[in-house]
């Protein structure tokens, strides 16, 4: 399988990376080790660590940071930006539609079953249109590249995509360690993200809000693996970071408990799942949420971001239909392509998948984080047979995709610099306006040949540069 190297075409260096050639060639080994240690110390000092659910081990584990940046030029980014914004608009239009009249289903463009029987479809918000018609305020689109002009969307994240703190901190650390690089290259800044996020959240204030809305971030708590990110965003935006116990419903509104008494809250950027939001509406055993929150939400007293029920748009089975959504709602052709996907729930597709299992990637429809996934070409015979059994037992629970030749970017490894596979997650903000900061989270599979970039499975992160024109 030929793999696209984002820096080298044979011996030639591609234009976006031109200035990095000298940088890496002239960096002595000792300096590199020194800088790597410095980066790690900085990450540890700011406390940006990552705890993996259920894996135990060191809760203060760091995600490995690779200093070799990933670079896009303005033209490449321009296309990505258009494609991502288009997708974010279509996904939101879809959400408004399926919680309303369901035109796309009536038109026969997407099967009713996939939507209405979906676990992520929240009956509780049917018939409700959130402020500005936005369900998903932060859309994280996972993109892989296979050639100079070939980008594919791997999946959409419409609920609460994480990782943006790595985008911000990676940049901070790179600027601190290699200021010269930033003088030589004209790199678009990403630090406007927090202000844009704050503006986005404030722009979807609820109907009953008067004056400047009070925004908070709702975290499941400091044991959560993304707690650092929650607190960083709260700090950068200058808003309170609250837990469910800090909020309460009184009358028609939600308040937070402060040392000066109750203070009304208008917009909640929640980083907890729908099921935990409100024990009176969803899981009655939830201790993380706020009893009565949904009633306030439904009656326009508070905005919840992302809106409850947004998850039905980023389901892996619904994903297949996103290009269809673009055509249906926007009347446009999709700029970014989907990875060809087989729905194992369809008998024809299942047959094909079972035939080609060793060549395919198989994923659980509701899975995330690289768990419950089969990478055919890397799997042992046993693993493949185990998956064959799972697929036959519950085909509807799986989708399959061809193994893509993910692009590589030079990466610092033990022996020097070597190509490693990467993906990209930019964060698109949707409120009154739709915005995208030029950058994102580049994840890199640090193991040679590995295609799994998840941080829980040995992936690392890189700074992502977008060069100014």
């Amino acid at each position: 399988m030929s793999q696209f190297n984002e820096m080298y075409q044979g011996a030639a260096v591609r234009v976006p990376y031109a200035r990095l050639q000298d940088w890496v060639a002239t960096m002595p080994q000792e300096l590199r080790s020194l800088k790597q240690a410095e980066a790690e110390a900085l990450f540890r000092r700011i406390g940006i660590t990552f705890a993996v659910y259920g894996e135990g081990g060191d809760p203060d584990r760091l995600i490995p940071f690779d200093m070799f940046p990933r670079v896009f030029n303005a033209a490449e980014w321009g296309k990505l930006e258009k494609g991502i914004k288009q997708r974010a608009r279509a996904l939101n239009a879809f959400l408004v539609d399926v919680y309303g009249r369901g035109e796309i289903i009536r038109a026969g463009r997407i099967p009713a079953r996939l939507v209405y029987q979906n676990e992520a479809y929240e009956k509780a918000v049917a018939g409700f249109v959130p402020p500005k018609g936005v369900y998903s305020h932060i859309v994280g689109v996972d993109i892989v590249r296979t050639g100079p002009d070939e980008f594919y969307v791997l999946e959409d994240n419409c609920r609460t995509p994480s990782g943006v703190s790595y985008m911000l901190e990676s940049r901070e650390i790179m600027m601190r360690m290699f200021p010269d690089l930033f003088r030589e290259n004209r790199i678009e800044p990403v630090d406007g993200y927090s202000e844009k996020l704050r503006r986005t959240l404030a722009s979807v204030a609820p109907r009953k809000c008067r004056g400047e809305p009070t925004v908070v971030i709702l975290t499941p708590g400091h044991f959560n693996s993304a707690y650092y990110e929650h607190s960083l965003l709260a700090d950068l935006m200058g808003v309170e970071l609250v837990e469910g116990q800090d909020l309460f419903v009184d009358g028609e509104f939600v308040y937070m408990r402060t040392t000066e008494g109750p203070r009304r809250v208008d917009v909640i950027y929640r980083r907890i799942d729908d099921a935990f939001l409100d024990p009176l509406c969803f899981r009655p055993d939830s201790m993380l949420g706020v009893p009565g929150l949904m009633d306030v939400y439904r009656s326009g007293g508070v905005t919840i971001c992302s809106a409850p029920g947004a998850g039905v748009a980023d389901d892996k089975a619904v994903y297949t239909y996103v290009p269809e959504m673009v055509r249906f709602y926007l009347g446009e052709e999709p700029i970014l392509q989907n990875v060809p996907t087989w729905q194992c729930g369809k008998p024809d597709d299942l047959g094909h998948v079972l035939d080609k299992l060793p060549d395919l990637v198989v994923k659980e429809v509701h899975g995330s984080g690289g768990y419950g996934m089969l990478v055919g070409p890397k799997a042992s015979k046993d693993e493949i047979e185990r998956f064959r059994l799972k697929l036959t037992e519950d085909p509807g629970n799986y989708i399959a995709q061809p193994t893509l030749a993910l692009s590589t970017v030079p990466t610092f490894v033990e022996e020097g610099v070597a190509p490693r596979h990467v993906d990209l997650r930019p964060y698109c903000l949707v409120g009154e306006r739709i915005e995208l900061v030029p950058g994102g989270l580049t994840r890199v599979a640090l193991k040679e040949g590995s295609l799994v970039v998840n941080s829980s499975q040995g992936g690392g992160v890189k700074d992502t540069w977008v060069l100014a024109e």
Partner: protein, 316 residues
């Protein structure tokens, strides 16, 4: 500020101060146990545990008070919520939760103490001398305190940190003085003896205050002078008078910032007035132990009032 944030800050201070006290208590214990004693070191260590309010918990886990076990219990034992390790871990965890309400310097100080603690826990116990451990704790407690004083914005968060410090410190001073009560209780004839004075001096040393004491009072160490120094003297950094005044000051600043008073301010003023009214004679008439117990009780009442008014989030 979020009530929970205020609560976390308050507990950072309480845990740090408590860790400091436990280290000092260990210091007192080991010095007292070096003395020739009528009842043997066992009962003295036991007195120490009683003063710290930890005797029952210790007995349940270890049985007889053996010095080595007491050291483990007070320093490393995670089952003991007041051990140095538990306190430093809890302080750092509270700090992590409210990371954005702290400066880098304060966080660094909390985090460094925690990271070094993990190294100490991995070290072979026989290589760790008690005096080194207690010095280590006091150094880090001072670093955190210093970082707070030097770098933190003087807002309500700063006040809640200080409220935590003064509450815990007053309580701890009272408890440390009470060790004397437990140690000496069985043998009234020791009062005023050389041994008695030696024990008082040990106590002063443990509080890092024996030099200050001599500068302030000079001459012989007597119970009355000590009581004056540790209870009534507003110059002494650990005296109950200083702690109560600190509470009145910081609660007053909170009330001013929020534009309203609560039961907490009233109780703090009562606490201070009680001390300002007292004299050493009156204290010994009432009985030192009784006086200290009363202070501990009133301070606990105040802590409840502070919790209700500001930290619980129940204020309307």
């Amino acid at each position: 500020m979020l009530s929970r944030t205020a609560d976390n800050l308050y507990w950072i201070a309480r845990y740090m101060e408590r860790a400091d006290t436990i280290a000092r208590l260990l210091e007192v214990g080991s010095r007292i146990s070096l003395l020739p004693s009528a009842h043997g070191y066992r009962s003295e260590w036991d007195s120490l545990l009683q003063a710290a309010g930890l005797a029952t918990l210790f007995a349940r886990k270890y049985g007889d008070p053996v010095q080595r076990n007491i050291e483990s219990f007070l320093f490393f034992d995670r089952d003991n919520p007041s051990s140095v390790a538990s306190c430093l871990t809890a302080a750092r965890e509270n700090g992590r939760i409210v990371r954005t309400a702290l400066t880098t310097q304060v966080w660094d100080a909390l985090n460094t103490a925690f990271q070094e603690l993990k190294q100490l826990e991995r070290a072979e116990r026989s290589t760790l001398e008690l005096s080194r451990l207690t010095d280590w704790v006091m150094r880090h407690a001072a670093m955190v305190r210093g970082a707070i004083d030097a770098t933190l914005l003087r807002d309500d968060g700063f006040n809640f940190l200080n409220i935590g410090y003064y509450l815990e410190r007053g309580d701890n001073t009272a408890r440390l003085m009470d060790v004397k009560y437990y140690v000496l209780l069985p043998r009234v004839e020791f009062v005023g003896s050389g041994l008695d004075n030696y024990q008082w001096t040990t106590l002063l040393r443990a509080m890092g205050a024996h030099r200050a004491f001599h500068w302030a009072y000079g001459g012989e160490v007597t119970a009355a002078k000590i009581a004056d120094f540790l209870i009534l003297n507003p110059q002494s950094p650990r005296s109950l008078a200083t702690c109560a005044a600190g509470l009145v000051n910081h609660l007053g600043r909170v009330a001013k910032a929020y534009g309203r008073e609560t039961l907490a301010q009233e109780k703090a003023r009562e606490l201070l007035a009680g001390i300002e009214r007292a004299t050493t004679d009156a204290i010994f008439d009432e009985g030192l132990h009784e006086f200290l117990s009363r202070y501990i009780g009133e301070a606990a009442d105040l802590a409840n009032a502070i919790h209700e008014a500001y930290l619980s989030g129940e204020m309307r």
